[in-house]
Amino acid sequence: MLLKKLTEASGVSGNEKEVRDIIIAEIKDHVDDLKIDKLGNIIAYKNGKPSSKKLMITAHMDEVGLMVTDIDDKGFIKFTTVGGIDKRVLVSKTVHIGDNKIPGVIGSKPIHLQKKNERNKAIDIDNLYIDIGTDTKEETSKFVKIGDYVTFDSKYIEFGDDLIKAKALDNRVGCSLLIELIKEVKDVSFYGVFTVMEEIGLRGAGPAAYYVNPDISIILEGTLCYDVPKIDSHLIPTYINKGPAISLMDRTTIFNRSLREKIVGIAIKNNIPYQYRKSSMGGNDSGNIHTKKEGSITATISVPCRNIHSPTSVMSKKDYDNTYRLLRAIIKDFEKGELVNGF
């Protein structure tokens, strides 16, 4: 199952190889051109009907995670975070280290031994470490080295009413959607780009866009969702099961209004539920795409994911399917030349 394979693979920002290889294997027989650029981005091209405008659809391959910074004398492994992780989610978790996925645990001081005031404070990263079961620096160093990347140990599980729990739904969900589009869409020209290092500064997107030089880009993401009870509705960025979230604005882009309105029109016309991403916090690859060279227009369409940037992200299959339907409808409009009217 594609999303299972993608989410269980390791691809922390800067070390996307395993995910890249899976994606290449999935798409190589469905594209007319495939290249890996100098930063590790996958740039794929599907040749179809000629179009006056160049369309690019992107999804970032990387996930947030950890990185080994030191091994102490007793064999404990010190680490730092890669990308934006709330350090409080790290405690009492299991992880995999390096290419060999060595299992480890991030423990913490037993509650019995903590002073009262200690319990009120979040545990600092300097006081956390990974234990792989060894007792000396030498022993640990046989399995782990400085610079190794660490991912959460979290299996893909389907539960509840068509929900999915996995790590890295941000942004394997985007990768999965893009892979399916590449496989199923016929006779439309577009670039499918899988970027690196989005989580540590939207790094891969700029150089990829510089190369492709698109007129229109659609960025696929897994985005914030915090639909808990008793919160004011305007503070809820997206909801599960209300369809794909269309971005209005974030820290890095004011999304082109005409394109956004056209996408909403397409959703309504095809009876696809949709919502707006109400928060203007955060950013995504669009930030570094739309200001490249002479500029271009972009839209970001996201699948809402609860518990983003943690080992237990949750999304809805229905949202996934509706997002896919919306994308197919958008591409159909593009094919007919209607999407780009007026640009």
Partner: protein
């Protein structure tokens, strides 16, 4: 020129970000013996080209070290002739109290940073950090005379000459990143004795301290096949956590992380081991605060490496480096460059 002398002269001169032209002549005179061409670009970056032998694919390596230093700038001239100032680059105001300075007006003027006598301070006042806006420079002139020599916008530097400490260590201002320039100088000297295939562009970049600005434009201009930034890293001292620092005298630190090309990094580590050059690691999970950051995302992306020379007390006027580290960085880079051929390049840079 002896590298230590060159470095001392560089540090004793002034090149505050945006005002680097003062040391260009010194750099040109040092490098010209070994270079095929030296040019200065629109933002002031100095580009020193050393051509390779049999470079049939015209492949290019860019090595960058920044020649600018942090400093201060005149913000306003007060009624009594005292000067209020702001910073250029990351200056900790606590490090400039009681310093001697030079205000570079239409002539260089000696000044002192004014401090309040302890006798007049409130009880807890000396527990609080001093803020830049509370400080003044006294030039010893009245307002009229100051105005005849100084304008808002003139730059100010701390007076500090290089001091030799024990163990081949130097202390002074702007070793960040003139130590990197010195390393490039040692490197070009080494490379005049060994053969290399690829063309090398040694770039003394401008305005790194205010946003890697020179690296952005010079990399775009040169468009190298890969780039290496040489900057300084946090030398370890007792109060700093071990994982944030590298050790003095133990060689350059090779950065590991997403902003660094993994195969290039593996190759340079191989060379270090092969030639017994001491080195250490520096882990960068995300952004790196050096020119490497700008190089990597230029145009369609450029494979990048970053080397850090251990340096204590960064951004003070008593920064400390070890000449051994500067020389080992140069050696490592020279052997690494010499080991790369046009044939290797594609395999080395692919994913």
């Amino acid at each position: 020129m002896n590298t230590k002398e060159f470095l001392s002269e560089l540090c004793n001169s002034h090149s505050v970000s945006g005002h680097e032209s003062g040391i260009v002549e010194l750099i040109e005179s040092a490098f010209s013996k070994y270079a095929d061409k030296i040019s200065v670009d629109k933002l002031g970056n100095v580009i020193i080209l050393k051509k390779g032998k049999n470079n049939f694919s015209n492949s290019k390596i860019m090595i960058a070290a920044h020649m600018d230093e942090i400093g201060l700038i005149v913000k306003s001239i007060e009624e009594n002739g005292f000067i209020k100032f702001s910073n250029i680059g990351g200056v900790d105001p606590r490090t400039i109290l009681s310093q001697e300075v030079t205000v570079h007006g239409n002539k260089d003027l000696f000044g002192v940073i004014v401090s309040k006598p302890p006798h007049l301070q409130e009880e807890s006042e000396n527990e609080k950090a001093i803020m830049m806006d509370e400080l003044y420079i006294d030039l010893g002139y009245d307002n009229n005379e100051v105005n005849s020599y100084v304008n808002v916008g003139d730059v100010i530097t701390i007076n500090r000459e290089i001091k030799e400490l024990k163990g081949d260590r130097l202390a002074g201002k702007s070793l960040d990143d003139k130590a990197g320039i010195a390393s490039m100088y040692e490197c070009i000297k080494e490379l005049s004795k060994i053969e290399h295939e690829l063309d090398i562009y040694f770039v003394c970049t401008v305005q790194e301290e205010v946003g890697l600005r020179g690296a952005i434009t010079s990399t775009y201009n040169i468009n190298p096949d890969f780039g290496v930034a040489i900057d300084v890293g946090f030398g370890s001292t007792p109060e700093l956590p071990k994982r944030d620092t590298i050790d003095m005298g133990m060689g350059p630190a090779i950065t590991i992380g997403g902003y660094i090309h993994p195969k290039l990094r593996e190759k340079i580590v191989e060379i270090a081991k092969e030639y017994n050059i001491p080195f250490q690691y520096e882990v960068a999970p995300g952004s790196i605060g050096t020119d490497a950051n700008a190089i990597q995302i230029t145009r369609e992306g450029i494979p990048t490496l970053n080397l850090s020379i251990p340096l204590r007390y960064m951004h003070t006027s008593v920064e400390v480096v070890d000449m051994k580290d500067i020389r080992n960085t140069a050696k490592l880079l020279a052997f690494f460059i010499a080991s790369i051929t046009n044939d290797d390049l594609e395999g080395l840079l692919c994913y």
